[in-house]
Symmetry: C2
Subunit: 391 residues, 2 copies
């Protein structure tokens, strides 16, 4: 039933235990849905209630603890045995008197781990201030330490099975972007273009369908291009305007983001055309330069030197690690392609490199998702790198 072989999950858990030992943790409570998925296979839209995976250094199998009604989903998607899947009663849900983390604390104490050093993902989206307070209250004798990103870092290098899914996401992402560009035209409402994007994201290909990406489609135009996280409206796209397309596809929670810029109209400004050419040239040469053994910051430097020739600068981060994730973000919050990031690139690390150049009243962006391979890098989607002009 699980997406990957049990041996793959076991190997991930072993690596997590090694990281725990190094960090002096005896128990690890994971509330990040991507990390829960990574170690057990659990996949469900249930992160709107508290849930977690608990790993102990001396216990063979992790525990999944979640809402009682989601235990069936855990049995369906994880390799865990039934004794390791523990549902809490619904009286813990949205109550002022008790909290699911009291239940989690009780389980931890019952296992004899109540006085241990316990790692918590203090900055995980769904691990709230109250969740921490309640867990602390229930486990008054435990010692808590911060385990933020401990498992995220383990996700950085993908297995071949994970890469297969990211390639599939790449195939869908190509279709998604081509669908968006085909649909865009003056007079088409933003919501209708977004509808076509969503259709392509989910329908996928004849061989495999798509999953929901962790971020909604972003297709701003006009003055909204300066406000990158506003979502779409009912307004029609206008003639002689730029549209930024920040899209993605997802396959079994593995992402392939992709960005392009389109110009609607027959008269793209010359300065925009020139900027696009220069940016694409920089994207090409930066991707071409990637090799295993390079440091993340060295990748950024290639790009920075390229645009400096044109007298330009860009904010320093040009890419980030990504792969398995849940809303609200597909980034892994670990390695970045930016000055100061000394991460050494290894085969099967996966990044989204996004190059956006923003001038006063125009701009251009172009991105690729890729894995580092033996001799360079492999991009996942196949979309021409250029300014798309729709006459």
């Amino acid at each position: 039933m699980t997406l990957f072989a049990e041996a793959e999950y076991r190997e991930r858990i072993d690596r997590a235990r090694q990281s725990m030992v190094k960090a002096g943790m005896e128990v690890l409570v994971l509330a990040d849905p991507a990390n829960m998925n990574y170690l057990t296979g659990y996949d469900g839209w249930s992160f709107y209630v508290p849930q977690c995976v608990v790993v102990a250094v001396d216990e063979d199998m992790p525990l999944w603890i979640g809402r009682g009604m989601d235990a069936a989903g855990a049995r369906h998607t994880t390799f865990l045995d039934n004794n390791s899947i523990i549902g809490y009663p619904d009286r813990y849900v949205q109550s002022v008197e008790r909290h699911p983390m009291n239940f989690v604390g009780d389980v931890i104490r019952e296992r004899g781990w109540g006085k241990r050093t316990i790692g918590l993902e203090m900055d995980a989206y769904y691990f709230t201030a109250r969740a921490y307070a309640e867990l602390s209250r229930t486990l008054g004798d435990a010692k808590f330490v911060n385990a933020d990103l401990l498992v995220n870092w383990l996700r950085l290098v993908k297995s071949d099975a994970e890469i297969t899914l990211m390639r599939q996401a790449g195939v869908i992402a190509g279709r998604v972007m081509r669908t968006a560009i085909a649909k865009l035209a003056p007079g088409v409402r933003e919501c209708d273009a977004v509808a076509a994007v969503y259709y392509a994201q989910m329908a996928g290909t004849e061989e495999f369908g798509g999953d929901y990406p962790s971020i909604v489609p972003m297709m701003p135009t006009g003055e909204k291009t300066s406000a990158p996280h506003l979502t779409w409206t009912d307004a029609p796209y206008e003639d002689e305007q730029m549209v930024n397309l920040e899209l993605a596809a997802c396959r079994h929670r593995y992402h392939c983001p992709i960005a392009r810029t389109a110009y609607l109209g027959s008269r793209p400004p010359e300065k925009l055309v020139a900027l696009a050419e220069h940016t694409v040239e920089g994207l090409n040469l930066t991707l071409d330069a990637i090799r295993p053994g390079m440091r993340a910051e060295e990748v950024e430097l290639i790009w920075r030197r390229h645009i400096a020739k044109a007298g330009l600068e860009k904010e320093s981060r040009i890419g980030y690690a990504m792969g398995l994730n849940y809303p609200p973000d597909w980034g892994e919050h670990t390695a970045s392609l930016r000055p100061g990031d000394r991460t050494v690139l290894e085969k099967n690390m996966t990044f989204h490199m996004i190059l956006g150049m923003w001038m006063d009243d125009y701009g251009f962006e172009c991105s690729e998702s890729f894995r580092v391979d033996e001799g360079g890098c492999e991009t996942f989607a196949d979309v021409e790198r250029k300014l798309f002009v729709k006459k």
Copy 2:
């Protein structure tokens, strides 16, 4: 630029201040994106980084504090003046050395509020354990109190302008459900049915488009109907099977959820047909009985007495307040239609009533989203209440 008139936001803020005074709070820090939107209009997919709205009892205008690049979105969607929109530098993002809540704390101290009693939404999805720890560290002289749901409760009774949006969401929701039922057939892949649902959600009607709902479409079939939060696969729907449809539409972040059950095939089991008729009868008579002045628990009692006649029981909650929201949930986490909930129904309170009856190997669900009106209730979507049999 704002969705509602400035006076409506001002009135909401006044009510928030009254609640703050009652609860002994001088400052309120809101991290729930729906509460930020409710008081200021702010709408963007930026909740993957820390952000908040800060209300002080003695300050005319709230503060929006978020990532620098999102300040333009705040200027675009809120009624706040530029001095009240404060962006933090990108060096605060995903850093181990500093956290956006240190910046928020500094702003609060600079305003002279550093020794005040400050309400925090301790259990809001995006207010993490670390966010609280960092804010506490920066504001060592403040007194913190829990402000969970303080603004959520203010959202319970909708304005006429909000109801207009929920009616529009209802029109889209009807189209979404009819699209899903039309698309479902043996041999159709789950992902393709979901694609059609997404298309309908976003394309909306000719007059108005749709927004992304806070929860993805749920359309489980077969054994997965017992695992309510698993999402779709590539598998084709099979012949002679039930499908549960838990869908929604959204208009400017205002939701209309709707659930139905379909049966694919020509031989729906008689017991399923009988269960569907009995459940729909119960839904009809429960909706018919709703009046302003009733208590939430009394609504549930009507339903419970109805099914008891057939010797049946159901878990006690049959509905919940909903409206404005962001992923991962459209529920408001306040009033519920369940025993013990003594909330008195008022005009323009809005609920999703969802009646699901689950037997060993079959089940049926049917729901309506509605507002309480002067003489009863008004449902938002217009979809026949029945078991949809697709031969």
